[in-house]
């Protein structure tokens, strides 16, 4: 039994070390080449459109629905204790600190991370990445950096938007279902939420953007054995990004609490 377990664990451990090493090299290459000319502004704009503008409807629906569900659950749950007036504060704080950025990032990982890994993987299979290199250009500059920067620019903006839409969803359910006055709800949200709530969530999205973009590019670039592996790379990209977001969120939340105490 021990022997049977030993082989998969060894392979798994090797894979993880290989992944971490590869990720390290990719980050090093990005940092090294990111500051060198030429810069490809048009590729960055194209990626901002692809990963940002086209993710907008998904974020809109997801965050609105989450805000509505949370208001409903908090409202019915607190009703018996006479705690309905606390619903705006609870919904706002939870959305701003955690749910808004995290759900936006998870949706972003599913949509954009999968897209990046499969697109780059397909380019590897059809030798387009080799062609970029053979034509005297760098795939890091042409493919990886525009995608990483686009994610870094777009995800915080989408999370900010998700915060607003999520709270609006809460407001709609609060006033329609829970009979909380809409003006009271809005006033409570604005009075009780502070910049620290907002910055804690907003700050995390920069890290989440990196957790999504870099592993997705890595898995895409490391496709080796044909189209079947494109699917594997896509799956790995989404799973890894999601895990990094969920696990990383805990540590980032702790760090932001420590920073808040200092301030």
């Amino acid at each position: 039994m021990n022997n049977l377990m030993a082989i998969p664990f060894k392979e798994w451990a090797e894979d993880q070390l290989y992944f971490l090493g590869g990720l390290g090299y990719l980050i090093k290459d990005c940092l090294k080449e990111g500051f060198k000319k030429p810069y490809y502004g048009s590729l960055l704009i194209e990626q901002i459109y692809q990963v940002g503008y086209r993710s907008f409807p998904l974020v809109l629906v997801t965050s609105g629905a989450i805000g509505m569900v949370m208001a409903l659950q908090f409202g019915y749950g607190l009703e018996k204790f006479g705690g309905k007036p606390y619903v705006p504060r609870l919904v706002a704080s939870t959305i701003l600190r955690e749910i808004g950025p995290m759900f936006t990032s998870l949706m972003f990982a599913a949509r954009v991370g999968a897209g990046i890994a499969s697109e780059i993987g397909s380019m590897v299979v059809t030798q387009q990445i080799d062609a970029i290199r053979a034509l005297g250009t760098s795939p890091i500059k042409k493919i990886v950096i525009p995608r990483v920067l686009a994610c870094l620019i777009v995800l915080p903006l989408l999370a900010a938007l998700a915060n607003v839409i999520g709270n609006l969803g809460g407001l709609v359910v609060g006033s329609v279902e829970l009979n909380i006055d809409a003006q009271f709800y809005l006033r409570r949200v604005l009075e009780t939420s502070n910049i620290k709530d907002y910055m804690s969530g907003f700050g995390k999205t920069f890290f989440f953007a990196l957790f999504i973009a870099i592993p997705s590019c890595y898995f895409g670039l490391n496709v080796k054995n044909g189209t079947q592996e494109v699917g594997v790379a896509t799956r790995k990209a989404v799973v890894t990004s999601s895990l990094l977001i969920l696990v990383g969120d805990f540590f980032l939340a702790k760090i932001f609490w420590i920073i808040e105490k200092w301030l």
């Binding site: 080799d130 062609a131 290199r133």
Partner: protein, 243 residues
């Protein structure tokens, strides 16, 4: 002087040894035919000459400069002079034919948009691709994709061209056309290495051959020398009876 010289080249992928001790050279303006059965590592060798694969040991000299230990940034400069024509074309599928051809010019030349347009038109005419400028790779045939790939590789007028099976899968008319294009470049003094299974094309354009087998170069020589070799496998290969 040799433009390309490979000495004691070794390459393996994991435990699978591809090349054990490969050495050859190509002089300026020469075209070397790199032939051998499927899976003998011809394309791997060709890819190594442009830094797409790294050798395990041995040396690769281009214009007398050892390049096998080059970093990626150094290869980027060299690849402006050494072009690689991919077997399937390796066209960027998000770009039109004209944009594919413009790619190397935009990256490495200082031509104006008008000059680029003229250059692209002329190249498309030379390759019998006029009228395909605005089409995407998915909208043209495999043979046309291959020709666009060749045209793109030649846009910067390189000193060396590495052809990876440029005629595979083409009809006789287009095969002839590619042969003529290679011969035209040869007349201009362009050094070339041609990986192919298409022996009529190889005999039409190559000055000498290197025959890869069992991880090494089994035979080297001019077309006549190769034809005169007693090795039955080489003879069968030349006559197209095997592989």
């Amino acid at each position: 002087m040799a433009v390309i010289e490979v000495k004691n080249f070794k390459k393996s992928f994991g435990s699978k040894v591809i090349h054990e001790d490969v050495s050859f050279y190509v002089k300026k303006g020469e075209c070397l035919g790199l032939v051998g059965g499927s899976g003998t590592g011809k394309s791997v060798l060709l890819r190594s000459l442009i830094g797409l694969e790294k050798p395990d040991s041995g040396s690769i000299e281009i214009n007398g400069i050892e390049v096998s230990k080059y970093k990626e940034s150094q290869w980027v400069l060299l690849r402006k002079k050494v072009a690689y024509a991919f077997q399937g074309g390796a066209l960027f599928d998000s770009m039109t034919v004209a944009q594919n051809l413009a790619y190397p010019l935009r990256e490495h030349s200082h031509l104006t948009s008008h000059e680029m347009k003229l250059r692209i038109e002329s190249q498309l005419n030379d390759f019998g691709l006029a009228g395909t400028e605005l089409l995407y790779p998915s909208e043209i045939s495999g043979g046309m994709q291959k020709r666009v790939g060749l045209a793109r590789a030649m846009m910067l007028e390189p000193e060396v061209i590495l052809y990876d099976e440029p005629t595979a899968g083409l009809d006789p008319y287009n095969t002839k056309r590619i042969q003529e294009l290679i011969l035209n470049l040869k007349r201009k003094g362009v050094t070339a290495i041609l990986v192919t299974h298409d022996m009529p094309t190889a005999f039409a354009v190559c000055d000498k051959f290197a025959f890869l087998k069992d991880k090494v170069i089994k035979e080297q020589g001019t077309p006549d020398q190769l034809k005169g070799k007693p090795d039955s496998l080489i003879q069968q290969f030349i006559e197209g009876n095997v592989l």
